[in-house]
């Protein structure tokens, strides 16, 4: 990220906005229920939308009859595939494989076939129920093995159409049901094996998981003929804007998206989700329509990829790692969604942050007849870290090494190559893991049935580094920060306000951060990949510095000094050491009037090169955690005694928010490791589509102790040396739990670690020991 227009003064001393636990600026309105989410909004003339979805996993539509629905009370419009003949109805940022509604074929249970707009929700629901559809049923591939078999039903025909934002170079054509493959090789695998090496070789299974942001996907759409307006709970408004513009043949600026508060995102609201169908329905109804998913619908809108993985790690008998060979198959469901990027990130995470003589990674993204899989917090890393780290621990046990010592010997050091041509390691991993181990009481005497585990990983973070922001200062020195990062609970509005307040030396109470509105808010690529503080925050810092430059310029004239570096900025005033002028006095002087405002623009773009995936990442997010668990060997029930995670953030802008991020990610990691699992029948039916059957962690699942260690080495590329956080713990916790089980001899190769699975494994291990 290139140099700003004036020197990045270290203003930390003068103003204490950064590094302080400022109250969330949106806290009171959220706690009091005043904060509005999309489902709380009303637009004049608004109708209620209901989507009619497929009940079968794979079939050709032979009859679709919506005439009863159209004639029902209150129904204004029913959208079907044949309404879309005037546009190219396919979308998908990675692969354009998905029609707005099914055209002639359905590929998963829950795929939208039609949508109703009616005056009340009850009317819309009743009308949707009356829709008649008949199919010619096609063979179903509801799991990876079936989809990869030689005689598998092929889920997509025709050529692969690359989406507008996959960012992964040339997309090769499909190979059967494999829609994308990523490979990464170093050294020569064949030449490094030797007879006395330790070899660990297993197959691993990772479950499909539901992100469950408590607020489901929701969107209000209005199509006026020349303009589309959306109020959407999307994480990436600017990517959605451009995808909707393309779909409906409009200039980008003719699509306007407002993003109010999101009731959680975790990746489930990244990229385009319900916006196309809502916009198409509004176009047909010629009135605004609101669609709010039920939980069962959001579960089939996006989920986390389930995975099969085969990994072989070799090491010398003293524990020095030698090679790793990994094959990964990720189930992306019926449409690619973010599958290709997840696949690449999983491939990157596969070798872990270790020094190798040779590695080979082949990761495949596979279509099946299940709901599309996309982003979920720490994708790829969560998939692979427990696999790789459990192998590192197995080697340590066989080499007779302590897992911590094993890592000290093999972990990469700062500046070493993580991925060829990519960013070298920008963190102190050994320092971090030692802190975690210490907080777990590493090396203390073991209690019965209790084990401890640690895990280390890296996550390619930051996505594409393109963000812009504006900072406006009014004549009373009130500041508004216009930035596209969407507030989904991570606290970005507070953090952005802190950054601006810090630079401008003004109190937090004078800074506001309104919601993203693509008409007024400058472009920001996305909210995800732990990028907001680092990348968008940098744009805010630069925009604030640009305002400061304007203030200094006028102050220089007032004080009659040519070199403004002789002036000091203190608490909202500028002084030459003798006289002092407040910002609002300076602004008044500048315009000779009571009005006017200062506007600063900040921009972040790739420093060098193209900002492509291979050159990245913006920073390596550290995924380090430890856990102590207790196993009831009679029931297989696991209790998490304590967890510890590292937030290696460079500089915490708001330490309390950093801790909350890690705590939330820890609980999600516990859910992912212990019990969360979306289940499909062989016919592709989703078996647990409600929170009665799909359980997420409650307060009773909270560990007795949850410890977040904030590490501030000032080594991030973001403002004040910061770098993002919030995902690492989710990748690291399942791995730490698996290793804690391994610590007491229960090596697990399949998640989630349900009591049944753990109990069976204990019996298996006892059998093996008996037969020895």
């Amino acid at each position: 990220m290139s140099a700003p227009t004036i020197d990045e003064r270290d203003l930390r001393v003068e103003s204490g906005a950064v590094g302080v636990n400022h109250d969330r600026i949106d806290g009171p309105s959220k706690i009091s229920g005043k904060a509005q989410y999309v489902g709380d909004l009303n637009v004049p003339g608004m109708l209620y939308g209901k989507v009619f979805r497929s009940q079968i996993a794979h079939g050709r539509i032979t009859r679709l009859d919506v005439s009863i629905a159209e004639a029902m009370d209150g129904v204004v419009a029913v959208l079907v595939g044949s309404d879309l003949t005037d546009i190219d109805p396919f979308y998908g940022h990675a692969i354009r494989d998905r029609p707005i509604v099914a055209l002639d074929r359905v590929r998963f249970v829950g795929e939208p076939i039609a949508a109703v707009a009616a005056k009340t929700m009850a009317q819309a629901e009743a009308a949707a129920k009356s829709i008649i559809v008949e199919f010619e049923v096609l063979p179903v591939a509801a799991d990876l093995d079936t989809a990869l078999a030689a005689d598998a039903p092929i889920i997509h025909d025709g050529k692969t159409a690359a989406g507008f934002a996959h960012g992964l170079g040339n997309l090769p054509d499909r190979d059967g049901n494999i829609c994308y493959s990523y490979s990464l090789n170093t050294g020569d695998l064949g030449s490094v094996t030797s007879a006395d090496n330790i070899v660990v070789d297993h197959e691993y299974i990772f479950p499909a998981v539901y992100q469950y942001s408590m607020e489901t996907h929701a969107v209000i759409a209005e199509h006026t003929g020349t303009e589309i307006r959306l109020w959407a709970n999307c994480q990436h408004p600017f990517l959605v804007q451009s995808e909707i513009a393309t779909l409906f043949n409009l200039p980008i600026s003719s699509v306007r998206i407002n993003v109010p508060y999101l009731g959680g995102g975790f990746g489930s609201k990244s990229y385009t989700k319900m916006e196309p169908i809502a916009a198409a329905l509004a176009r047909k109804a010629m009135r605004p329509v609101r669609i709010v998913n039920e939980v069962s619908e959001s579960m089939v809108t996006t989920r986390r990829h389930n995975m099969k993985c085969r990994m072989v790690t070799t090491a010398k008998s003293d524990g020095e790692l030698v090679s790793r060979d990994v094959q990964i198959w990720l189930d992306t469901g019926a449409y690619a969604d973010n599958g290709p990027r997840v696949t690449a990130t999983a491939g990157d995470a596969a070798t872990g942050p270790y020094r190798w003589q040779a590695t080979q990674v082949r990761a495949h993204c596979v279509y099946t007849n299940t709901a599309p899989s996309g982003s979920y917090r720490a994708f790829g890393a969560t998939h692979l870290q427990w696999v790789g780290e459990s192998q590192v621990d197995e080697i340590a046990r066989r080499a007779g090494l302590d897992p911590l010592e094993m890592r000290r010997r093999n972990l990469l050091r700062r500046g070493e190559v993580v991925r060829v041509n990519g960013k070298p390691l920008d963190a102190d991993l050994i320092g971090d893991i030692e802190k975690v181990a210490a907080s777990l009481g590493w090396g203390e005497e073991r209690k019965q049935n209790r084990g401890k585990g640690i895990s280390v990983g890296l996550l390619a973070a930051g996505a594409h580094p393109v963000s812009m922001a504006s900072v406006r200062m009014d004549a009373t020195a009130g500041v508004s920060v216009l930035v596209g990062s969407t507030e989904m609970g991570q606290g970005t509005r507070t953090v952005m306000a802190q950054i601006a307040a810090q630079v401008l030396t003004v109190p937090m109470s004078t800074v506001s951060v309104p919601e993203a509105d693509t008409r007024f808010t400058p472009y920001d690529r996305s909210t995800g990949a732990s990028r907001s503080t680092t990348v968008a925050g940098k744009a805010v810092e630069r925009a604030a510095l640009a305002v400061l430059a304007l203030l200094l310029e006028t102050a220089g004239q007032i004080f009659g000094v040519a070199d403004v570096s002789n002036l000091d900025v203190v608490d909202g005033s500028i002084t030459d050491g003798k006289l002092s002028k407040t910002f609002s006095q300076i602004i008044k002087k500048r315009f000779g009037f009571v009005g006017g405002e200062l506007i600063g623009h900040g921009e972040v773009k790739p420093e060098g090169g193209s900002g492509s995936y291979e050159e990245g990442p913006v920073f390596w997010e550290v995924c380090i955690a430890g856990a102590e668990v207790e196993v009831d060997k009679n029931t297989g029930v696991i209790k998490i005694i304590r967890t510890s995670s590292v937030a290696d953030v460079g500089q915490a802008i708001n330490p309390a928010q950093v801790e909350r991020q890690d705590e939330g990610a820890t609980l999600q990691g516990i859910g992912n490791a212990l019990f969360e699992e979306i289940l499909y029948s062989s016919e592709g039916d989703l078996l647990n589509d409600s929170l009665l059957d799909y359980r997420i962690p409650t307060i009773l699942d909270m560990p007795e102790t949850m410890n977040c260690i904030i590490v501030e080495n000032g080594d991030g590329p973001g403002p004040f040396g910061s770098k993002g956080c919030g995902e690492g713990a989710l990748a690291a916790i399942p791995a730490a739990i698996v290793n804690a089980l391994g610590d007491i001899g229960i090596e697990m190769y399949e998640l989630p670690l349900t009591p049944e699975r753990v109990w069976k494994r204990i019996q298996e291990i006892q059998e093996i020991q008996k037969s020895k």
Partner: protein, 162 residues
């Protein structure tokens, strides 16, 4: 095909309202859509998550699984009715201090649950508080901050049990 509609009275947050909805209308939909009180949220719709919690005659119920009809002729209290109370002021201050809010979708529900616990007037142990909060889900915070905030609110209002 409009369904026959009967009229009932219902006091919501101290204000008399006429309930005039089809008899299969959920209490949550009546509150959110007809009355426009959107502080009460909707998520799971199966009485698991607690974001739809409202009080009917002082008893917490899930608006998603309660018919509006069942609340006829009764006193309904939502977050909008609690907002102005002294209890709320203290609870908000404590929740803020613990940064026990992230996306906020679960927050009004937690406040309602804590309000009910305080109103019961009984000293609760930390264990009992945890048990009582387990009907409210939060996907963001990891619960720790909410748990600590709830303990502090309850302790300051009625004291903790041993």
């Amino acid at each position: 095909m409009s369904e026959p509609v009967e009229k009932f009275l219902c006091v919501v947050n101290g204000k008399q309202q006429i309930m005039e909805v089809p008899d299969n209308t959920l209490l949550l939909d009546w509150i959110r859509t007809d009355l426009g009180l959107t502080g009460t949220k909707q998520s799971c719709e199966v009485q698991v998550c607690g974001v739809c919690t409202v009080l009917v005659d002082g008893v917490p119920v899930s608006g998603c699984t309660t018919l509006a009809y069942e609340a006829r002729n009764s006193n309904v209290m939502t977050i909008e009715g609690i907002r102005g109370t002294a209890f709320y002021q203290r609870a908000e201050e404590i929740f803020m201090r613990h940064s026990a809010v992230q996306c906020g979708f679960c927050s009004p529900g937690f406040i309602l649950t804590v309000f009910t616990l305080v109103n019961a007037g009984r000293k609760l142990t930390e264990h009992e508080i945890k048990q009582a909060l387990h009907g409210n889900l939060c996907r963001c915070t990891g619960y720790k901050s909410i748990f600590e905030a709830a303990i502090e609110v309850i302790n300051s209002e009625v004291g903790l049990g041993k």
